[in-house]
Amino acid sequence: MTTEVYESVLHPQSLVAELKKNNVSHVVWLPDSETNFLYNMMMEEPTLDLIPVCREGETMAVAAGLWVGGANPVVLIQNTGVFEAGDSIRGLCLDLNQPLVMLVGYRGWTRRGPTPDSAGRFIEHILHAWGINYYLVETDDDADRISIAFDESVRLNRPVAVLIGTEFGV
C-alpha cells in the first residue's frame, strides 16, 4: 500500500503575492516570533513598506491615517492583538467605514479536537460580535481567499479579517 503525502502548508510567497495583486502599499504590523519568514520576504518586496508598531491598537490608527492619506494598507497582527486593538477597530475602522484587510494569526487554532488556548476559542466570537466577516487561510490553496477579503472590504467599506490558521512553511 502506498501513502500519498500532501504538503499542506502556507508559504509566505503566497501571501506576499496576494498583497502585490491587491496593490497593498504598507503593512502595519507588530513583529512577533511566528512571522519571521514572512518578514524576510516582505522586506525583499520593494512595493511594500513595513511599519512596525509597539502595540496592536496602534496598527488600526496608523492604517486609518494611511487610508485617509490615499494609501492602501493592511494590518498584520495575532488574534491576541485583535483583542488589544478592540476600541480602535470600533472607532477607527467600523465607525469610519474604513475598508481594511486585517491579516490575523490564528493562535490556538486546532481544527480538530479541543481548543485549549482561549485566544483560539474567543476570536471568532469577537469578530461575530463586531459584525466583521472573516476568511480562514491554512494552505497555499486558500491564499486566493485574501483577494476575496480585499474585494469585500472595498465593496462594503468595512474591515474584513483573514485568519491565518497555520505557521508559515519554509
Binding site: 504598507h26 496602534e58 496608523v62 491615517g65 485617509v68 492619506g69 490615499g70
Partner: protein
C-alpha cells in the same frame, strides 16, 4: 502659561497646506480657528490615537507637513506611540503636546504625577529628531517659525491655560470630516 486659543491661532497662521490631526481639548480650540477644515482630521473618538493617525498620514503624504495637536492626558494613555514614531522617523511630522494647567480634558480632575512627566525628554530618547518646550507666548511665536522649517519628527510641549469655558467639539462627525479630507486630497491628486 499660554492661552490655548493663542496656541491654536499661531499654529493656524503657520500651517499653510499642512494636514492637522487634533484631539480632545486641543480639537475644541482648533476647529474654531482653523482656516482649512478640509485638511483637518478630527478625533472626537479614540482620542489617544492622534499620534498614530498622524504617523499614517505622514507616510501616505510625505511631501506635506503633518501637525498633530495632542494633549498631555491623551498622550499619557498611549506613550508607546512616541517609540513607534521615533522608529519610523517621519521627517514631515510635528507633534504638539498641550500640557493643560487646568486639567480640562478630564473636566478638572487632576491626574496624579502628570505634571512630572517629561514628554520632551521621552520624545528625544524615543528617537524624535528634535524636542522643545514653551510656557511663554512670545517665545512660542518666535520659535514656531523655526519649528516649521526643521526636519522631523519634532515634539513641541506647550504649557497652556484653556479658555474659562471650554468650546464645544465640532458639529461635523468624525466620519464626515475624514471623508472630506479624503475628497480634498483625492481632488488635489487628480488636479496634478
Amino acid at each position: 502659561m499660554i492661552p490655548s486659543r493663542e496656541v491654536a491661532r499661531a499654529i493656524n497662521y503657520h500651517r499653510q497646506d499642512s494636514l492637522v490631526v487634533s484631539t480632545s481639548a486641543a480639537l475644541r480650540d482648533w476647529h474654531n480657528v482653523s482656516d482649512r477644515r478640509d485638511l483637518d482630521i478630527d478625533l472626537t473618538d479614540c482620542m489617544d490615537r492622534a499620534p498614530a493617525v498622524g504617523l499614517g498620514l505622514s507616510l501616505a503624504q510625505p511631501n506635506r507637513r503633518i501637525l498633530v495637536l495632542d494633549c498631555d492626558a491623551t498622550l499619557r494613555t498611549d506613550l508607546a506611540s512616541l517609540v513607534t514614531i521615533g522608529e519610523a522617523s517621519p521627517a514631515n511630522f510635528v507633534h504638539f503636546v498641550l500640557e493643560d494647567a487646568d486639567h480640562s480634558s478630564t473636566d478638572g480632575t487632576p491626574i496624579r504625577g502628570l505634571d512630572r512627566i517629561d514628554f520632551e525628554g521621552m520624545a528625544r530618547s524615543a528617537g524624535y529628531a528634535h524636542a522643545c518646550r514653551f510656557d511663554n507666548l512670545e517665545e512660542f511665536l518666535i520659535g514656531l517659525e523655526d519649528i516649521m522649517a526643521r526636519t522631523g519628527p519634532i515634539l513641541v510641549a506647550v504649557k497652556v491655560l484653556p479658555e474659562p469655558e471650554l468650546p464645544a467639539f465640532p458639529e461635523r462627525t468624525m466620519a464626515d470630516g475624514w471623508a472630506e479630507v479624503r475628497r480634498a486630497l483625492s481632488d488635489e491628486t487628480r488636479a496634478c
